[in-house]
Subunit: 380 residues, 2 copies
């Protein structure tokens, strides 16, 4: 019998309501009904992004959205600063280099969030104000850390550089106040906090970002913001989008409004606290110092083959937890608790992990992990 | 009561089997199950593309795939030739210009397919062999024409230029033999002949295309072929793809194999013949000279407001037919019969059109259109 739980930091589990919404018949993307669908989705997205900024919807992975910001806001030779604290910070660096930008990085030890003062220091050192953009990662799923975007937003407000934030995994799981924190560009995807299958990505753009766009000369077509803006002004898209996923997203956005953003953030925070308490009680250590509340990264215990453990979790219990990315492959495992995830998902994952780790010879007090999670998740 | 028929040249109607397949739970894109899904899909796509060439799968609209070929195979300043015979030929021109290519066009009167000898002439005139690529459109849905790709493939075989073919709407509706006709690059999308919702696109690449890729210097990241190839070699994708759409596509590809490509092509050909006979019998004229068999473009009759007619078709009968694109807006209407479309869809569309056009004062012999279609579609 197959019963599957996807406990990865994206893609994530999807509510039945969303799957059902996706089976609605395809409509034409130049019809009035389609425009009303896009309008509803954009309103819902603005609620989650906490913004009044313009919103663009692309059919692509989150990485497409990241590239779009580089291609549309900068030109070859422009100086930019990338905060690199994991795989997704590294991805920013690669994209910027692909477009010939002059990339400076702040390299942060994996597992830690950048100290915002380091960003300020770099901007101060740049006396001629040549740094045109600062690229950040809201929650870095490769290391399980959350960046203090509020503080970075405060700092950037005094400088001319655009603040660009990859919140593909963060949005709708950890608080991100696009407007209040003055984040010029926020990029997210459908498959994490937004509880929809992968395939859509979203970009919000401040007025300053639109001004920068006017001067940017990198080649682009599919992701071109000017062309997109023209269509999105009438709630449309220039090219045929993933209509089924938009149906699903509309439903997921309704669910998000029903629960309310602050409830969603505290649910994630509680699931994360319970997971950390549980693994700690199981004689395991946490990889991250500045914990994000949408994923918990655990160091593989001595003598246990992490990949074999993940395989056993899947084969015996139908639970998929993620492995390490990049250099962390085989060294850590990652329990995602983002989006459509509740207390029972955590309790069952911890229970299964308890059995598998015991079988594999890891020494700890059995059932103490489950108890630690229960103590937190059992609170009314 | 709402009962909807999407008779547009893409996106198109979707079989229930495909919708149902899309509701399967999301799996992780780094899992063995995902790799086996991609493997099956790639095999199915190669059957439809009639190719042994490597196949890449992107999460994007078809336009993303078109851009990928420009960004990955050429560099700024490269000389290329675009066959421009409608909206999608114009799109090739725009994309090539966005990337700074030196674009020459063959401008063909809308409604006609290019004479392949014109392509040969242009290549002959290019004595230094500077034309590095020829961009074509297999079936141009804005004008309802089909290009003779076989003949163009034969001609190109004697020259050094890459042959690139947008078959977003053509693939799986009109015969296209990628390998036999020596087409270096074929681009298609999920939402037309492949009977899957929009959001995926596919690119097949010959060895010559891979060689050109090695020298191409345009910036790119999300659509970068080298990176993609690395992942697709192990039946994976570099970024989180639209997994639900891949499930749907796998099911649609099974259906395509069950029916068989040659049956599919003759079904489209018969639906097209019936539609042309019907509208002609209704005192309407066809826009195209070189008919594609996946869409029929009809000139709006004198005294009838085409957009009002389309609106009535939708409101009274739930049938969506498309309007004209670009300069043809308001002048023609387009009946799509591609992908999941059968005889009954054509008979009902013609019946409804008969009623609406009569109401709007168009003069013709009522029921003769239906009869003409029946004569063709009633054949055993």
């Amino acid at each position: 019998m197959e019963k599957f739980r996807l406990m990865a930091p994206g893609p994530c589990m999807i509510p039945d309501r969303v799957y059902q919404a996706m089976t609605r018949h395809i409509i034409h993307h130049r019809s009035a009904e389609f425009r009303s669908l896009v309008k509803e989705v954009v309103e819902g997205l603005k609620y989650v992004f906490q913004t009044k900024n313009e919103m663009l919807i692309f059919t692509s992975s989150g990485t497409g959205g990241m590239e779009s910001s580089v291609a549309n806001l900068f030109s070859a030779g422009d100086k930019v600063l990338v905060v690199r604290a994991g795989t997704f910070g590294e991805r920013w660096t690669q994209i910027c280099k692909s477009y010939g930008l002059a990339v400076k990085t702040i390299d942060v030890e994996w597992g830690r969030a950048v100290n915002p003062k380091l960003v300020e220091q770099r901007l101060k050192e740049d006396k001629e104000g040549k740094i045109k953009g600062v690229f950040t990662t809201h929650t870095e799923t490769s290391t399980g850390t959350e960046t203090d975007m509020e503080e970075i937003g405060n700092i950037l407000a005094d400088y001319g550089a655009l603040l660009i934030c990859d919140s593909v995994s963060g949005l709708g799981t950890c608080n991100l106040q696009t407007d209040a924190w003055q984040i010029d560009v926020v990029i997210s995807g459908s498959q994490k906090g937004l509880m929809t299958p992968p395939g859509l990505c979203f970009v919000s753009l401040s007025e300053a970002a639109w001004s920068a766009h006017k001067k940017a000369k990198s080649p682009r077509f599919y992701f071109d913001y000017s062309n997109y803006r023209k269509f999105m002004e009438s709630s449309s898209t220039p090219f045929t989008p993933a209509i089924s996923l938009l149906y699903g997203l509309r439903e997921a956005l309704s669910m998000i409004r029903e629960e309310g953003l602050s409830n969603i953030f505290s649910r994630h925070e509680r699931l994360a606290r319970a997971t950390r308490a549980a693994v700690t009680a199981m004689n395991l250590s946490l990889f991250s110092i500045n914990h994000a509340s949408n994923v918990t990264i655990v160091n593989g215990p001595d003598g246990v083959d992490v990949e074999e453990m993940r395989e056993r979790m899947l084969r015996r219990f139908g639970i998929y937890i993620a492995g390490g990315q990049g250099d962390l492959m085989g060294k850590v495992f990652r329990i995602g608790h983002m989006g459509y995830c509740d207390a029972i998902d955590i309790l069952s994952t911890i229970s299964a992990l308890d059995i598998v780790l015991t079988d594999m010879g890891h020494i700890f007090n059995q059932a103490q992990g489950v108890k630690a999670a229960q103590d937190i998740l059992g609170e009314e």
